[in-house]
Symmetry: C2
DNA sequence: CTAATAATCTAACGATCGTTAGATTATGAT
DNA sequence: ATCATAATCTAACGATCGTTAGATTATTAG
């Protein structure tokens, strides 16, 4: 009876360790982060994470075995997606714990935001209120497919690589808040830097859709 | 600029992966689970997890390097504790994700609770209300030191190995709710089985102090 | 049909990890 | 002082992991 209890416990902890094993690789974490922005084919994931297609495929297989992602075949492409929002929530949770406990990570993140174009103390609810009243403009600078898969309310899509061309569309009389994939993504930082150089009043909002949703705030989906 | 962005990202994800690496071993997870019950010396941790002292020491070192636990020396003993409640919250989060996604784990947990002495649909708030009104008796069957480090409100300490001796203290006219370290701990299951055999009306409450606290409910500490 | 593309599978390598045994350090008891 | 205890450090082993290259499987285009 005592030894069977040990067997059961070993099995239970081993199951949880399967999740841990799936998220002990930096590249797998990056893939999860990317998949938080919506489903993507393997090739795109490999390109975004800057790894070979073979390696991406191997990592995705691991994630699939841990039931954190699932695949859907469409023509020649295989689209991967998270198995549920609980996976995105977990990504937010483990990243938050790392930010909380690892001083190196705090330092690296502070370095990203040491430029003055930051808007740290703005909470999600505050942002939502300002955007609703039209007091600010919220800019989603991710690729259009990610915007379509889910974006913040009142946000307008303007991918980073179109920003220069479409800069005339932006208002000069109110603050522009740019966001992207989340704290580890540099696109909104770049967008804010560029806009400020051009004389706009732009700030970066650190959170992405996954963080937004994890905090219980509403997300809009195109269709 | 583009390559420096890659370097920064690699660093950021690598930091989070340090947390992942710390929790990819079943035994390290078990140690974290044990430390959610309060600080303990290495020897006790090794005994509870049924591993050698050397191995426990090695695993604790890994957890220490990931800043998930910290050590305090007192005489000949070294006491380990979590570096904060965020670590316990993370343990609850990763276990919940595993329960959510891994069918094997669901099956194993269901096996534990296939006996009829279960009380699944009772929420924490409901339990709290019943305990406050004295309609049920809440029993903490963990070792006394863990009870002292933090326990549910209105709970009485009655360690599993003292249960038979002290059985006369228990009421026969109202339900007894036993809890222990959490979903992976078998002590409350055993306690409920024993009490039901003796003619009491006993049920197991699956959550432990870490889950209770993670849900935002109050915890009492002895002093 | 053949050619090209997207993705996976297989095999292999070096690196890392879990675990154990033996030596070592620090503390408390005698 | 000597001895016992608690814990860590070091070295070593087999196992596993991350990564790459080469072959293989589906699917679409021509």
């Amino acid at each position: 009876m005592k030894s069977s209890g040990r067997q059961v416990k070993d099995l239970l902890y081993a199951q949880v360790a399967r999740i841990g094993k799936a998220v002990c690789s930096p590249k797998r974490l990056e893939l999860i982060d990317l998949l938080c922005q919506g489903e993507k084919p393997v090739e795109r994931l490999a390109a975004e994470a800057q790894i070979s297609l073979k390696l991406a495929s191997a990592h995705l297989k691991e994630l699939r075995l841990a039931h954190l992602v699932e695949a859907r075949k469409e023509g020649k492409n295989v689209f991967y997606r998270l198995t549920g929002n609980s996976v995105a929530d977990f990504w937010v949770a483990i990243r938050s714990l790392a930010e909380d406990r690892l001083l190196d990570l705090q330092a690296a993140l502070d370095k990203l935001t040491e430029h003055p174009h930051e808007l740290k103390p703005l909470s999600g609810k505050e942002l939502l209120g300002l955007a609703k009243n039209g007091e600010i403009m919220v800019l989603d600078v991710r690729p259009p497919s990610e915007y379509a898969a889910g974006h913040l309310p009142y946000a307008q899509s303007m991918p980073l690589d179109e920003l220069k061309k479409r800069i005339a569309e932006l208002p000069r009389d109110k603050p522009i808040v740019a966001y992207c994939r989340g704290p580890f993504c540099l696109m909104a930082v770049e967008a804010a830097e560029l806009l400020n150089k051009k004389g706009f009043h732009a700030v970066r909002f650190e959170e992405g859709v996954a963080e937004w949703r994890a905090h219980g705030l509403p997300v809009e989906v195109e269709r």
